[in-house]
C-alpha cells in the first residue's frame, strides 16, 4: 500500500461512523413523524378503553417529548435520548406487538433464518454468475453467448414474487416439496441427517428462486467487465506474446474484471441482511424480510428501528469492506 494507506483506512472508518449516527437519528425521526399511534395499534375496538391506551402510552415512553424537554426537569429526558441511551447498552427495546419479547431476540432469530436462506443463494449466484459471464464473454457473439445473455436478462427482469409462485406450484405439485416454513413442524423422527434433509427440502425452492433472480445481475456485469478488459492494451500485448486465451483470462483479465464485481458483491451481501423480502413472503420463510414487513404493517416501531439500524450498519460495513478490499486489490485507489 502507498504510504498514505493508513490515512485512507482511518478516513473511511471515520466516515462510516458518521454515516451510522446520521442513520440512527434519521431512522428515529422518521417513525415519529408518521401518523398513527402504536398504543392504539390494537385497532379500534370499544374494549381498548382509554385507560389501557394511556397505560400503554406511558409504558412505551410515548408520552415524553421527542427531542428536548424544556418544560423543566431534565431536558434530556426525551424519547430520543432514551433511545440513544438504550442503544449504548445494546438494548433495542421491546416490541410493541410482541410485548413480551425484546427486539434483539426477535432480530437475532430472524437474522439467523435469513442467513440460512441468503448466504447459500448469494454464494451460488456469484459463482454461477461469474462463470457464466466469463464463458459468455469468452465465446462472445456465438450461440453460447446469445443463450447466456438471453437467459440472464430474462432472469434479471423476472419479478421475484412471480418466479417464486411458479416454482412453488411446480415444486409442490410435481415434486412433493413443502410449500412453506423452515422445517416440518412436529419434527422428523430419525437421525440428524434426516433433519438436515428436511431443512434441505424446505430450503430448496426459496434458494433456487433467489439464486436465479440474483444470477442475472452478476452474469451481465461480469460479462461486460471482461469484455471491457479484453479491449485493453495489455491484453493485446499478451496476445501478441502468443499466450492462449485461457492463460490471458487466468493471469490477466480475471483479476481486473473482478474489480467492479467486488463492490457489487459487497453491497449485495449487505442487503442480504435486509432479507429477501419477496422470497420470504412467498415461502413463509421466517426471516428478517418477513419480520420487517409485519412490523411495518403493525407499526412496531422498535422492531423497525432495530431492523433498519441493522441493515444500515451492514451496508456501511460492507461498503467499508469493499473500499478496503478495492484499495488492496488496486493500489492506485488507495494512494489517491
Amino acid at each position: 500500500m502507498a504510504p498514505s494507506g493508513g490515512g485512507y483506512v482511518l478516513r473511511k472508518v471515520g466516515w462510516a461512523l458518521v454515516t451510522v449516527l446520521v442513520v440512527i437519528t434519521f431512522n428515529f425521526l422518521l417513525f415519529r413523524v408518521l401518523p398513527g399511534d402504536p398504543a392504539k395499534a390494537g385497532g379500534k375496538d370499544p374494549r381498548l378503553n382509554p385507560a389501557t391506551a394511556a397505560a400503554l402510552t406511558e409504558r412505551f415512553g410515548l408520552d415524553k417529548q421527542v427531542f428536548l424537554d424544556l418544560d423543566g426537569g431534565n431536558p434530556l429526558d426525551t424519547q430520543y435520548f432514551a433511545y440513544l441511551g438504550a442503544l449504548a447498552r445494546g438494548d433495542l427495546g421491546e416490541s410493541y406487538v410482541f410485548r413480551d419479547r425484546n427486539v434483539v431476540d426477535l432480530l437475532g432469530e430472524a437474522l439467523v433464518n435469513t442467513l440460512w436462506l441468503v448466504l447459500p443463494s448469494q454464494a451460488m449466484s456469484i459463482v454461477l454468475g461469474v462463470m457464466l459471464g466469463l464463458v459468455a464473454a469468452w465465446k462472445r457473439r456465438t450461440g453460447v453467448d446469445v443463450a447466456a445473455l438471453a437467459f440472464s436478462l430474462f432472469m434479471w427482469s423476472l419479478p421475484t414474487f412471480f418466479l417464486g409462485i411458479i416454482l412453488l406450484f411446480v415444486g409442490a405439485n410435481w415434486f412433493d416439496l413443502p410449500t412453506s416454513g423452515r422445517v416440518t413442524i412436529g419434527g422428523v423422527a430419525g437421525a440428524w441427517w434426516d433433519n438436515l434433509w428436511d431443512i434441505g427440502r424446505h430450503l430448496l425452492l426459496p434458494t433456487l428462486t433467489l439464486t436465479l433472480v440474483l444470477l442475472g445481475e452478476y452474469m451481465l456485469i461480469m460479462r461486460s467487465s471482461v469484455l471491457e478488459v479484453f479491449s485493453e492494451d495489455y491484453i493485446l500485448t499478451a496476445r501478441a506474446k502468443g499466450l492462449s486465451t485461457y492463460r490471458i483470462i487466468r493471469d490477466h483479465a480475471l483479476r481486473n474484471a473482478m474489480l467492479p464485481l467486488v463492490t457489487l458483491i459487497a453491497l449485495n451481501l449487505a442487503f442480504t441482511v435486509s432479507g429477501a423480502i419477496q422470497v420470504e413472503a412467498v415461502f413463509s420463510w421466517p426471516g428478517l424480510g418477513s419480520l420487517t414487513v409485519d412490523a411495518v404493517d403493525q407499526r412496531d416501531y422498535p422492531v423497525l428501528q432495530g431492523a433498519f439500524l441493522l441493515i444500515a450498519v451492514a451496508v456501511v460495513l460492507a461498503n467499508l469492506l469493499a473500499d478496503l478490499v478495492y484499495g488492496w486489490l488496486d493500489p492506485r485507489v488507495a494512494g489517491a
Binding site: G42, G43, P46, P50, G186, V282
Partner: protein
C-alpha cells in the same frame, strides 16, 4: 377499525380434528395409534391447520390477534362457554346464581379439573385470575370484562362469590373469555404484563408442546382433560403467509384445514379432490362491513377544552353539510344494492346486513326490523322532495340554497390494507351515482384513517368493518354520545334516547326485556342511518375429507378450530 378477528376466532376454534396417520410430507411422532379400535372411535394423528398470521402472545392477557385467541381457547378453559346456538353452557362452572340483591353471584366449579402440570384447579385459581385481569389496565381486552367484579371471595375449593358494582345482564358473556390461569405459577410472576408464559399451563383439552413466533404453534392432546381426551393426538397451526401457497398446501395435502383464503380460490377448492368447502353463518359473533356517515353535530364537536378529559385532539368536524340531512342518508340507504356488494366483495359468501348486531347473535338480532328496500327510483324521489335538484342536468345534484356547499359530492375513504373494500368502494360509487351523488374515493392506511375518523371527524363517508363479540353490548356502544369525544364513536352520532336505552340494557337482568331494549336501539339507529351495513361475512373453511372425519356441519358455526370441533373429530382410515 380492525376487523378484529375475534369472531372468526370463535368461529375458527371448533375444528380440532386429529389427523389420521401421517398425512403430508412427514411422519409426525404421533403417527402411532391410528387404526386402533376397529369399529370404535379412531384416535391418533396430527391435524395441520394453515393460517396466514401468527399468535402475538402466549399470555392470555396480552393477546390482540384472533390467532392468539384460537390457541387460548384450546389450551385454557373458561368458567362458561357458548354453543353454536348461542346458548351459554358449563365449562369450568357447573352453576351460577345471583342473589335477590342482584349483585351477589355464587359460582360453583367442577371438582375434577387438573392443570396440565397435574395440579388441581380450585376456586382460588378463578379468584386470582379474575383479579389479575381486572387489575391490570395494560391488558388490552381482558381488563374490561371483569371490570364490574368488585369483590371476589373464595368460599370453598369449588365455590366462589362475586359481588358486582351494579346489576348486570351479561354475566355469562363476561365469563366467556376469562381463561383461568394457574395461581401457583402466575403468583410468582413479577410483572404479568410482560410475562411471556412460554409454557402455557392451562386446563384445556390441548397443551402447548412447541411454539415459534411467526412460524408455528404445536399442541398435544391432554390426557387428563375433564371432558375426556380429544380423539386426535396433535394439532399444529402452521403459518403460511402467501394465500396462494396456503391453497396449494391444502390441495397437496401438506395441511388438513384452511380457514383463510381468498374467495377466488373457492371454485378451485370445490373442484379439488378430497376437499370440502364449508360455508356457514358465524355463530356467537361475526364480522360486518359498514358505511359510516359523519353525522357529528357542531355542538358535539370535540374541543381541546381542558375541562373535558380524555380528549387529546381537537375535532375538525369537516362533514359535508348534506350528510347531516337524514333524508339524504335514507335515500342513500335505498340506493345501496347490498347483494351486488356481496357478490363483488365476497363472491356471494355473505349475508345482507341490517344493523350493528350481526345475524349470528341469535335473539339479539332484530329479525323483525325491516331494512330500507333497494329502490333507486324512490331514493331519487326522496332527494328531489328534500330539495336536492340537478338543475344543470350533469348527473350530480346540487345542494339546497340554505346549505354551505355546491353539489352532492362526498369524500369516501377506506383502509388500504383491505382486500375487498377497494373494489366495493367503486361499486358503491356507481350505485350512488345513479341517484345523483358523486363520490371521491381515496384508500388510506388504517392508522391515517383512524386519525381522520375520530375524534377528528374530518371525513364525509368511511367504509370499514367491525368484529362482534357474542354480546352486543360493546359494539352498540359505538353510537353513544359519551364516546364522541373519546374516539370510539366513528360517526359522532348522539341521541339521548339511544343512550338511555343503552344504560338500561346494561343493568337489565331479565333476558327478554334486555333483548327488547336492544332491538329498540337498533330500530332507532336504523331510522337515523348513521351507518349503512352492507353485509355480515360468513365463515368459509376448507378441509380435506380423506384425513379426518366427524367435522360438525352446524350452521351457524363456531368455526372449525373451536374445541367443540377439535375434540370430536377422528382420523379417517
Amino acid at each position: 377499525m380492525r376487523f378484529h378477528r375475534f369472531a372468526s376466532l370463535i368461529a375458527g376454534l371448533s375444528l380440532m380434528l386429529a389427523a389420521c396417520g401421517g398425512q403430508g410430507q412427514s411422519q409426525g411422532p404421533a403417527a402411532s395409534g391410528s387404526g386402533s379400535g376397529e369399529g370404535e372411535g379412531q384416535t391418533g394423528g396430527t391435524l395441520r391447520v394453515g393460517i396466514g398470521g401468527s399468535p402475538d402472545s402466549l399470555n392470555p392477557g396480552l393477546g390482540l390477534l384472533s390467532e392468539s385467541f384460537e390457541i387460548y381457547e384450546l389450551v385454557y378453559d373458561t368458567p362458561i362457554s357458548i354453543t353454536a346456538e348461542g346458548e351459554y353452557e358449563d365449562e369450568l362452572a357447573t352453576d351460577w346464581v345471583v342473589a335477590d340483591d342482584g349483585v351477589t353471584w355464587t359460582v360453583t366449579l367442577r371438582d375434577d379439573v387438573t392443570f396440565h402440570d397435574g395440579e388441581p384447579l380450585t376456586a382460588s385459581d378463578l379468584k386470582f385470575t379474575l383479579e389479575l385481569y381486572r387489575d391490570h389496565e395494560e391488558f388490552p381486552y381482558q381488563s374490561s370484562y371483569p371490570d364490574v367484579f368488585e369483590t371476589i371471595e373464595v368460599v370453598s375449593d369449588t365455590e366462589l362469590t362475586i359481588v358486582t358494582s351494579q346489576p348486570i345482564g351479561n354475566f355469562e358473556y363476561r365469563m366467556l373469555f376469562m381463561y383461568v390461569l394457574p395461581e401457583h405459577i402466575w403468583s410468582a410472576v413479577e410483572d404479568p404484563t410482560t410475562f411471556e408464559n412460554a409454557e402455557m399451563i392451562g386446563t384445556g383439552p390441548f397443551k402447548l408442546t412447541d411454539f415459534s413466533h411467526n412460524e408455528f404453534t404445536q399442541l398435544a392432546a391432554f390426557d387428563g382433560y375433564h371432558g375426556g381426551r380429544p380423539n386426535i393426538d396433535e394439532v399444529i397451526f402452521q403459518r403460511i403467509e402467501n394465500p396462494d401457497a396456503r391453497v396449494t398446501a391444502l390441495t397437496t395435502g401438506e395441511i388438513d384445514l384452511l380457514g383463510e383464503f381468498p374467495v377466488t380460490a373457492v371454485p378451485t377448492l370445490r373442484n379439488a379432490e378430497n376437499i370440502e368447502v364449508f360455508i356457514a353463518d358465524v355463530a356467537a359473533g361475526g364480522s360486518l362491513t359498514d358505511i359510516i356517515f359523519n353525522v357529528v353535530e357542531p355542538a358535539n364537536c370535540p374541543t381541546d377544552d381542558p375541562e373535558t378529559a380524555d380528549v387529546d385532539e381537537t375535532g375538525i368536524c369537516s362533514a359535508h353539510p348534506a350528510i347531516s340531512d337524514v333524508q339524504v342518508r335514507r335515500a342513500l340507504a335505498m340506493a345501496t344494492n347490498k347483494q351486488e356488494l356481496i357478490d363483488v366483495g365476497e363472491g356471494g359468501l355473505a349475508t345482507a346486513g341490517l344493523g350493528l348486531v350481526p345475524v349470528g347473535l341469535g335473539d339479539f338480532y332484530p329479525s323483525d326490523l325491516e331494512d330500507y328496500p333497494y329502490d333507486v327510483a324512490a331514493a331519487a324521489q326522496m332527494l328531489e322532495d328534500a330539495g336536492y335538484l340537478d338543475s344543470d342536468g350533469n348527473g350530480v345534484r346540487e345542494c339546497r340554497a340554505d346549505q354551505d356547499c355546491e353539489t352532492l359530492t362526498f369524500r369516501l375513504n377506506y383502509p388500504s390494507d383491505s382486500d375487498t373494500l377497494p373494489r366495493e368502494a367503486e361499486v358503491i360509487a356507481g350505485q350512488w351515482a345513479q341517484v345523483g351523488v358523486t363520490l371521491e374515493i381515496q384508500g388510506i392506511d388504517p392508522d391515517t384513517l383512524t386519525s381522520i375518523c375520530c375524534p377528528a371527524f374530518d371525513y364525509d363517508v368511511i367504509m370499514w368493518g367491525w368484529g362482534s363479540d357474542p354480546d352486543p353490548q360493546f359494539l352498540l356502544g359505538v353510537l353513544l354520545c359519551s364516546e364522541v369525544a373519546t374516539g370510539f364513536s366513528e360517526s359522532g352520532y348522539c341521541n339521548p334516547a339511544y343512550d338511555a336505552l343503552y344504560e338500561q340494557q346494561g343493568v337489565e337482568t331479565d333476558a327478554q326485556t334486555r333483548i327488547e331494549q336492544i332491538h329498540e336501539m337498533q330500530r332507532i339507529a336504523l331510522e337515523d342511518v348513521p351507518y349503512i351495513i352492507p353485509y355480515y361475512s360468513q365463515t368459509v373453511v376448507a378441509y380435506r375429507t380423506d384425513t379426518f372425519t366427524g367435522w360438525p356441519p352446524a350452521d351457524p358455526s363456531l368455526g372449525l378450530t373451536d374445541p367443540s370441533s377439535l375434540r370430536v373429530i377422528q382420523p379417517a382410515n
